[in-house]
Amino acid sequence: MRRHRCQPRPAWRQKVEAIGLTFHTAPEGPYWDESACYELTADEVNALETAASTLHALCIEAAEAVIENQWWRRLGIPEIAIPSILRSWERDDFSLYGRFDFSYDGQSPPKLLEYNADTPTALIEASVAQWFWLQDTHPDADQFNSLHERLIEAWRHWAGQTIHFSSVKEHDEDQQTVLYLRDTCEQAGVLTRFVFIEDIGWDSERNCFVDLDNEPIRRCFKLYPWEWLWHEDFGGYLANDPVCFIEPAWKMLLSNKGLLPILWERFPDHPNLLPTYEQAAPLGGSFVRKPKLSREGANIAWVESGVAVEETGGDYGWEGHVFQAPAPLPDFDGNHPVFGVWIVDHEPAGLGIREDIHRITGNLSRFVPHFFL
């Protein structure tokens, strides 16, 4: 594995904007960063692909254990959500995607940091932007990226039907991500409609959610976390499954960092897992403390010998924490990459790499493209 410094393409901003990556630059600096790229070997790509495939299966097994043992409190799942999760699990409701985040240095096996199984983002970057970057800069090289075709193929499950898509207002990244997913969905022969999360209505006569045209919402891709939906004013209406949501309710089990200690209990010393517990004690004084439901690296503390050497802010933590052994920290000229392996329709489908000069990957960590030979 090597990190190369690169000359960004002329007019790269216009190029990525033209394919939907309008959020390429944050006020703090570049987010899409093609001044560098990662070169991997085929073996390294295979290691990441195999790890993701294996761990997806292990996560399903661990989720089954949660259900059998009724470990709802270990995951901080509200009582009202449990029947819906169980029905969704029994029906094997359709799941489109997720993203495993790995620490990986190319030497030791990839180590799972977390599974973003409900509302993963950085999709346009991984699927489209780095693919066009590859055509322009390394046309003969390969890339771990079949996301676009795999998404279209997965959506064919719903061909001829209508799916609503929903995201929050005033959030460019989320709206573009949802627009891209609609794009792939329509190419699969599915009719799509859009409604902002805030505009979803509840029709008390028809007992259904409706869009702004008062059309019933029967199937809905939501870029909005399940745990928020349950806690909001309309959460009570979800109990009778009025909508087939994508991602489905059972993904609450996989997207929860509370699953990490359960994975470690059931598969101790698995080469792709880090020791993770519900208390810090088994790890001594060095660990990474993560809220079970935090997003974008919020409220994470990196503790060494009892001292927090790095900590991020945020509003999470009320739901409880898990304590994970620190992963080996790859270092390329002071940059620490995290390898996000995408799962589409239960199979690995691509890779996106984000890097940061800090140990903790956050919402400002840069997306850097990759290739392999």
Binding site: T119, S146, V195
Partner: protein, 124 residues
């Protein structure tokens, strides 16, 4: 070979702005009901309030509501030391008021999702 062979976009890119703009509300305007409708004093509509016939509008308190603390009477959106005197106890609401009341009568409520996003990032 693990990469995509061809990526075609139909909504993203140049069409993004138009595609999103096309998703906005198209028929969420209030449905105004019967233009000849008449309402009696204190007709209560949840979300609209109490109808005050002399003023052809809905208000948050009943017509000539008396507040024992201030010893004032409420009518037409104001408080006064004496009750309002009028022979009008039935009237047609103004078009604007009728639209407002009709909207309040709809069985559809909105805004029950999205509050968490104001303080958190959505994606992971």
């Amino acid at each position: 070979m693990k990469r995509s062979r061809r990526i075609q976009l139909v909504l993203l890119g140049g069409l993004s702005a138009g595609a999103m703009a096309g998703c906005g509300p198209t028929s969420d305007a209030p449905r105004v009901g019967d233009a000849d409708a008449v309402c009696t004093n204190n007709l209560y509509i949840p979300g609209a309030g109490y109808y005050h016939a002399p003023f052809r509008a809905w208000y948050p308190r009943p017509y000539n509501y008396f507040d024992p603390n201030t010893r004032l009477y409420y009518y037409g959106g104001q408080w006064a030391p004496t009750p309002h005197q009028s022979i009008t106890n039935i009237s047609p609401p103004t078009a604007q008021q009728l639209a407002r009341a009709t909207a309040a009568l709809t069985p559809i409520r909105r805004g029950g999702f999205g509050s968490s996003s104001r303080s958190h990032f959505v994606g992971t």
